[in-house]
Symmetry: C2
Subunit: 299 residues, 2 copies
């Protein structure tokens, strides 16, 4: 049974885990640490965890479960910083968006420990200790990627933990996770960042025009492109092969549409635009988006 | 002064204009027509216009202002269908998303008439006569692209009309409009349609996985890719050169990011991801999007 949870990194994800635990599992004691002292101060003020500690070692000393909530590029360092103080039998997990590289980093920094990597597929464009909220994980999926030799009890403990936070849990291998998330998350972010960059660098269309007329579709991309720069830099550097593979598929398909536009092939366009409509309906039926038009934006 | 408005096409845009007029300018009489009899029935039930007519000619017979709210590929035909019955001095406008091609179609079908093409930059992913609502244009921009020899009074009448519906009005030439909207609306739609198509056609990732884990970013794209297929087919066929031009810029930038990922160049990624954040802030400051995290989606 998990009684003491340590959260390392108190931004959007770490903070939301703390707040969700306070609301849904008040019997679990929480400690937390963040490398940034200002973040620790805000975490204390907002009560993101029961006790904000001054070192990662202090935060994990009593923990049954440690969750690393730092950018994926910082996971190895964060794991190394808790290695000495980690109690015997404690489970280490994380919330990183790429799983093969993180699994390797954690295994290297914490040899012989119970490591159950995890990825809750949830977030907003906001980041930092002010951004978290208790319902972030409600009805979202959390993917666990336990190594082949992982302890079954540890897997069940982490599954039960995420279910207690309101999430639905799925287990898959890290390689497949990285491919799936490349297409459902990483490539969407990459193309959003790209088009927002492209639009703001044009000579013949001013930035002011881009912003004024953004309600035509562009503004949606600006939300995603406002996501945390360090987190996303690390995702692309750490899920390189799956991202490049999926980017290749996307570019092929975009080239085919470009050809259809150039040649005036309206049927190809109409066929695709009809098929994609069905996907939206399924996303809503599966409870993965707001069914109200325009995400329920204020009009 | 505009006293009688005829709306040809009673989908999302036409219906929203009718509802906005009823709410904000109840002194203006409205008539409407849609080629689809089922749409006419719903329009009558919802009261989208005061009188639903059985022919386009009947709808425009008393009009001071006619607004064509049909897909841009159907504008020429819609204009031809009202030519005979159009009262002398009536102004003809539209809501099409591409302006050079529409301007040409209208000028050809209605020689010697007062034509003031317009494009309200507003919409949702929904379409049809059930989709419209009175506040769709509030605080959105409506771009007029009057021909060089347009009558100043006609321009002012259409400007005043859109201001009365709650929109902010800008005037520019049709060619520039088409370039600006290619980047703020058409390319965002094209890449959303593309990635949703790519994701649903993969062999190694199932469609069910794509839908389950769509909250990682993909779901945003499914909303845009649920937009009306005929409308968007016509936009791409009718704004071909600007779309291909902007698509070229986008592809160049995407290729540069691809290279940065492949070579592990984190600084290039971080620099871009930091710059794009500022654009989001400006979009919100300009009142062009909901400032709440995640568009105010329910969590």
């Amino acid at each position: 049974m998990i009684r003491n949870v340590a959260i390392i990194g108190l931004g959007l994800l770490g903070g939301s885990i703390g707040l969700a635990l306070r609301e849904r599992a008040p019997g679990i004691a929480t400690t937390g640490f963040d490398a940034n002292p200002n973040v620790r101060d805000v975490a204390g003020e907002r009560g993101l965890v029961g006790t904000v500690c001054d070192t990662p070692a202090d935060a994990v000393r009593e923990a049954d479960l440690v969750i690393l909530c730092v950018p994926v590029g910082a996971m190895g360092e964060a794991a190394a910083a808790i290695a000495e103080a980690l109690p015997e039998g404690a489970i280490v997990s994380d919330v990183g968006s790429s799983k093969q590289s993180v699994s390797e980093m954690l295994a290297e920094a914490l040899p012989g420990r119970a490591i159950i990597p995890a990825h809750p597929v949830a977030g907003t464009e906001q980041s930092g200790p002010e951004a978290g909220f208790a319902s972030l994980f409600t009805n979202r999926w959390c993917i666990l990627t336990p190594p082949k030799d992982a302890d079954q009890d540890a897997i069940e403990a982490v599954s039960g933990f995420w279910a207690a936070l309101g999430a639905r849990v799925e287990i898959m291998d890290a390689e497949h996770h990285d491919l799936v998330l490349a297409v459902t998350s990483h490539i969407p972010h990459l193309i959003a960042y790209t088009i927002v960059g492209t639009a703001s660098d044009l000579e013949d269309v001013t930035r002011s025009e881009v912003i004024k007329y953004s309600a035509g579709g562009f503004r949606d991309f600006t939300r995603i492109a406002a996501s945390d720069p360090v987190m996303w830099r690390d995702v692309f550097l750490n899920n390189k092969s799956a991202v490049l593979e999926m980017l290749g598929r996307f570019t092929e398909d975009l080239t085919a549409l470009q050809r259809a536009i150039r040649s005036g092939d309206g049927d190809t366009l109409h066929d695709l635009f009809t098929r994609t409509r069905a996907i939206r309906r399924q996303v809503i039926e599966e409870g993965q988006d707001d069914e109200r038009p325009d995400f329920g934006r204020d009009h």
